[in-house]
């Protein structure tokens, strides 16, 4: 233990703001969720009835909720796979030692600063069937102009595209840091031994980057599950016909449109289980890395 100041009161004073806020705004709501998930709540909390696990039984027998789970899996899966592979290409390019590469790094990562809601509305414009450039281009090239907003699969495509674009900057930041940590002599040795560019990537870069990629996999899953509420709200409001109704959107609908607090809390608890699972996996498998995130 490092030598330290020895006062019994001061440390508690220093910690008190953190502890108070944690208890009031973090722990108390979490306890409430556990409790409310076992109740049916009506009339804005005026009436509460203990129902045991009925909320959960109802959830898992509801086609809408099961559909929402599937939508979330497809959405997150697509965003993670596309996001990491495209970012990998961008990061490999930006890691080349050529004049201007440093500057272009900023050119590739700045969308990190934009919100999911901004990504949503900008892509909604690009996908606009009448005035958007995407339909103009597809019309010119293939003679088709899909009604992106009104078909289930095309709406999901739209939302996935916007979310993937939004996540690229974040991924490139971490992949570049990972690439720069790879000792140059490994790659040089391989080059001397006659390994091709592709072999070097596949046999050296990729294995050495795997901790970074695993970390990104988990972080991207957490982000795609939890930060895209605004994106979906701006673009599709979960529609059409629940095509983009990801879990967090469904939770919002239950809790704040239909005011079913108990039902929404049960869903929150399921979301919580997802965060816990993913976070524990991250701690277990990627040493003790905590990284800069908002929370």
């Amino acid at each position: 233990m490092r030598s330290a100041y020895s006062n019994k009161v001061v440390p508690w004073l220093l910690l008190s703001p953190s502890i108070l806020i944690c208890i009031l705004f973090l722990y108390y709501p979490m306890v409430q969720i556990a409790k409310l998930s076992l109740y049916k709540v009506a009339f804005f909390g005026m009436r509460m009835k203990y129902v045991g696990l009925e909320n959960f039984i109802q959830l898992f027998s509801s086609p809408v909720y099961l559909g929402s789970i599937l939508t979330s899996l497809v959405f997150s899966g697509a965003v993670v796979v596309l996001g990491i592979s495209i970012s990998m290409g961008l990061a490999l390019l930006a890691n080349q030692k050529v004049y201007g590469a440093r500057l272009s790094r900023v050119g590739l990562i700045w969308p990190y600063a934009l919100s999911p809601a901004i990504a949503g509305i900008v892509w909604l414009y690009l996908f606009n069937p009448a005035v958007g450039v995407i339909n103009y281009t597809t019309g010119l090239l293939f003679g088709i102009k899909p009604q992106w907003y009104s078909h289930r699969s095309s709406a999901l495509t739209m939302v996935i595209t916007a979310a993937t674009w939004k996540i690229l900057g974040y991924n490139v930041i971490f992949l570049l840091a990972g690439l720069q940590n790879i000792p140059g002599q490994f790659l040089e040795a391989a080059q001397i031994d006659g390994a091709s560019t592709f072999q070097r990537f596949w046999k050296i870069t990729l294995p050495l980057l795997s901790p970074t990629m695993f970390f990104l996999l988990i972080m991207n899953l957490i982000q795609s599950f939890f930060t895209n509420f605004g994106l979906v709200n701006v673009m599709t409001e979960g529609g059409p016909r629940e095509a983009t109704n990801i879990l967090i959107y469904q939770m919002y609908t239950s809790g704040f449109r239909y005011f079913k607090s108990g039902f929404a809390s049960a869903q929150s608890l399921i979301l919580f289980a997802i965060v816990v699972g993913l976070t524990l996996m991250q701690f277990k498998l990627t040493s003790r890395r905590v990284h800069y995130q908002g929370g």
Binding site: R2, A4, L24, I33, Y99, A101, S104, L108, V131, A177
Partner: protein, 274 residues
Amino acid sequence: MINKRKRIFLIQVCLIVCSLLVAAPVIFAVITSTQTPAEVDSYPPKVTPGSAGLARYAEVWRIGIGRMMLNSLYISAVVTVGKIGVSILAALALVYFNFRFKNLVFFFIFITIMFPVPVRVVPLFDLVQKLKMGDSYYALTIPFLASATATFLLRQHFMSIPASMVDAARVEGVGPLKFLFLVLIPMSINTLGALAMVTFIYIWNQYLWPMIVISSNERQVVQLGLKMLRPGEAGRQDWALAMAGVVIAMVIPLVIFLLLQEQFMRGFALSEEK
């Protein structure tokens, strides 16, 4: 030699093309924001700057987006300063004092990394109503002042500062707060810069919580203003207004990002050290 030069040139071209592709959606947004309604609706889509100049921005500003942007700026600044302040005090206690239950307290704060806002919104909304903080800036700031991530990263950074520093300070009779301001803060510029950037952008980009807890437009944040401008909402059918809103909503976080991205990279690289 020629071959190598060709390769470098090719990489540079690829980098430029990729940067442009990544930027393309925002470039289109900026171009559209200068167009009149007729230009927005023209076919084929007009992809050059329009004739409206900054008129659409003035329009958007007048219908309340300006006020919302200032609200976002205010709450993001308050939370950034407040959260870092609260976390730095916690990290100071956790690293430079010996007291009972120290590890337990750290664990208590750290575990909240698994309590993201979306999980808590239902009871948090009820709580904030009960505390009479609904529809206020308090609701947008106070619940965010404690941070598992910031406390963790500052603690980790402080632990990497040689113990001889605090020994010297104690011998000289320098108290903990003075030590914090004279030694720790100046030695933590990268970490603090990185945290400030991430926190500011995180708060600026919040959507779900303000949507639920804020009901009056005078206190709403700019992200929700975008929803207001979305064609189809409230009878608006004008993409130029929406894109002007986008530009207004992204300028400040973008400037903060560009100013602090060096610190972010360096602060991050430091935290990477095993």
